[in-house]
């Protein structure tokens, strides 16, 4: 276990610096006028130019710039947006609603995909299995830019089952529809992996032993098979979080939810470079940390790794 953690931590450190460096380099490297790139098409005043130069240490060598950028990220100093607001404050404001949205989405995704995945695996080749397999294919193919507006149109506007927009302090009910949209991004893959994994485990010898022990069919599946099958599903949750973040940008924009994604979408359209880079960097870090946590969880679920 200890060696596993150390190895994962080392890997993470490398990926962490690599990923942040890529984001940083993409923003600033080889730019004739990096400031103009940050500001997009709109003219920047001389005072803004000075402030940005100082903020990003543009008069210093590239690696030094990266060093300051990292220092800022790690100390929570994200600088100010082109509109003059502190990016850190904006993040603190936007964070809670996005967090709630993501949590609801993950819970929905896991509950739906694990139950449906187990049932299709048990009755594989049956009607339920074939229908879910086809539906997951359709979901897999459904771009978020189609899913989010169509869900809003159908369930929010036409049928009126859910409010079509949500505020910062939205209730669970108001967040349900956008969360479901986000969840569908993960459901397709999680369901398929659960199904495959359960199918494989049903063939395992230990299942025969469990049945020979006179356990009920239900206990064999939900206690013995599921625990083994969930191991690959758990790793997916980490990967899916990346999709969830991407999806949140579109979904929050469509449903007008003033969260992190909404801010990024707005920063893109107002061409507020520092805001985009600041928020994106933070999301990348969160993504990496969550994936590390998921890997450790993986070890907890699989004793063969835990005692490595």
């Amino acid at each position: 276990m200890f060696r596993y953690i150390v190895r994962r931590l080392l890997q993470m450190v490398l990926t962490f610096f690599g990923a942040t460096f890529v984001v940083f380099a993409l923003t600033f490297a080889n730019q004739d006028d990096p400031l103009q790139a940050l500001a997009g098409e709109r003219p920047i005043t001389e005072s803004q130019r000075l402030a940005l130069t100082e903020r990003y240490h543009l008069d210093e060598p590239f690696l030094t710039q990266y060093w300051y950028y990292m220092k800022g990220l790690l100390t929570g100093d994200l600088g100010t947006s082109l509109t003059g607001q502190k990016i850190g404050d904006m993040l603190v404001n936007a964070w809670p609603v996005t967090m709630r949205l993501a949590l609801i989405a993950i819970v929905l995704a896991v509950v739906i995909s694990v139950t449906a995945g187990v049932y299709s695996a048990i009755r594989r080749g049956g009607a339920f299995d074939n229908i879910t397999l086809f539906l997951t294919l359709v979901l897999l193919a459904m771009p978020i830019v189609v899913l989010a507006p169509m869900a809003q149109l159908l369930f929010g506007i036409q049928l009126g089952w859910f409010p079509p927009t949500a505020t910062r302090d939205a209730s669970l009910y108001a967040l349900f529809l956008p969360a479901l949209v986000l969840a569908t991004l993960a459901i397709a893959t999680e369901l398929r992996v659960t199904r495959t994994s359960v199918v494989e485990n049903l063939r395992a010898d230990y299942v025969r032993t469990a049945r020979a022990k006179g356990l009920t069919g239900r206990r064999v599946i939900w206690v013995h098979v599921l625990r083994n099958s969930l191991i690959p599903v758990v790793t997916l949750i980490g990967v899916d979080l990346g999709g969830l973040m991407s999806g949140a940008i579109v979904t929050e924009k469509i449903f007008n939810i003033p969260g992190v994604g909404f801010n990024i979408a707005r920063a893109i359209s107002t061409e507020d470079g520092p805001l985009v880079v600041g928020f994106v960097s933070i999301l990348v870090i969160i993504f990496l940390v969550v994936n590390l946590v998921v890997d450790l969880l993986y070890a907890a679920l699989d004793p063969r790794i835990r005692y490595e």
Partner: protein, 312 residues
């Protein structure tokens, strides 16, 4: 020793077994590709996706076959008018013909999708082959590189990169989006190639070829590639679908196609603001986009199932 498995083993006709009179078909010599094709032919999903893909390609190549209306000839007077005999899908916010705009939207989707997939295919092929074949430090560096790429959620990276590449306000963004998608999506293709190379490198016939003095290039081209090409094609087919979806997403957010470029993503973005008054301009491009992505993903999925029947 458990019997369900030994039965399948017993069934394979082996030397010394009395000739089985059972329903064992051995009339034709079989190859993996032949088997897969036989399997594929029988799948309705395969034919549905083939037809869809053909229609979409036709739409992209000759939009005038489907409509004689200029999608850029818009009159504000027609704003949000409903469908009619001349405008099947009605008019959008700017009074443009939604049907014509949707038909013409296929072009950019296919161009960006195909070129970016080609780019990631080439990068993936080269990196995957090199990492798998040479191994050692090259493999280590490339593998860590892939880890780092995967450490950045795709759309976040794409937003940053695309807004960098498309900084020129006069471009329509096609090149920028193509480059963005190509540069960010090669990892899965590279991984597939790498593991295919590693597994076939150790096979006897490849080892024999190497001992006989075949050059690495020849080995890869003649022996390793043909054996891994199926999974590679599957990956790229599915990638083509997801790249088209990503183009729409970037365009939707304003870091993809822009200016007066016609894109389903832009159409959806504009129309979603007026969905309450005029759902049509939102629904039609959405349907076309979803159908296009679905067609490619279904196609890839069908091919994979045909080549890898054990997954079902």
């Amino acid at each position: 020793m458990s019997d369900p498995t030994s039965i399948t083993a017993v069934e394979a006709p082996g030397a010394g077994v009395p000739a089985p009179t059972g329903p064992v078909k051995t009339d034709k010599p079989r190859s993996l590709a032949g088997d897969a094709w036989n399997d594929l032919r029988k799948r309705p999903v395969f034919w549905i996706s083939i037809v869809l893909v053909a229609v979409i390609l036709l739409m992209a190549a000759w939009p005038t076959l489907f409509t004689s209306i200029d999608p850029r000839a818009c009159t504000l007077a027609n704003q949000h008018k409903g469908p009619s005999g001349s405008a099947y899908f009605g008019y959008d916010f700017q009074g443009c013909d939604v049907y014509a705009k949707t038909i013409y939207g296929a072009q950019n989707s296919i161009i960006v999708g195909a070129l970016s997939t080609l780019l990631s295919g080439v990068i993936g092929l080269v990196f995957g082959l090199a990492a798998g074949y040479y191994g050692g430090w090259l493999d280590a560096v490339l593998s860590r590189g892939i880890d780092i790429m995967l450490g950045i959620p795709f759309l976040l990276g794409a937003i940053v990169l695309s807004s960098r590449l498309a900084a020129d306000p006069n471009s329509d963004g096609v090149l920028a989006v193509t480059m963005t998608l190509g540069l960010l999506t090669w990892t899965s293709a590279a991984r597939v190639m790498r593991s295919a190379v590693i597994s076939s490198k150790n096979q006897d016939y490849v080892a024999a070829g190497r001992m006989l003095g075949a050059t690495p290039a020849r080995l890869m081209l003649r022996h390793i590639l043909p054996n891994s090409i199926a999974s590679f094609i599957v990956i790229l087919t599915i990638l083509l679908g997801t790249n088209i979806a990503s183009e729409a997403t970037l365009s939707f957010l304003g870091v993809g196609l822009k200016g007066d470029a016609i894109s389903w993503g832009i159409s959806i973005s504009e129309a979603s603001r007026y969905a309450r008054v005029a759902p049509g301009p939102l629904v039609y491009p959405s349907l076309f986009l979803a159908a296009t992505v679905l067609a490619f993903i279904m196609l890839g999925d069908a091919i994979r199932d045909a080549f890898d029947p054990k997954l079902r």
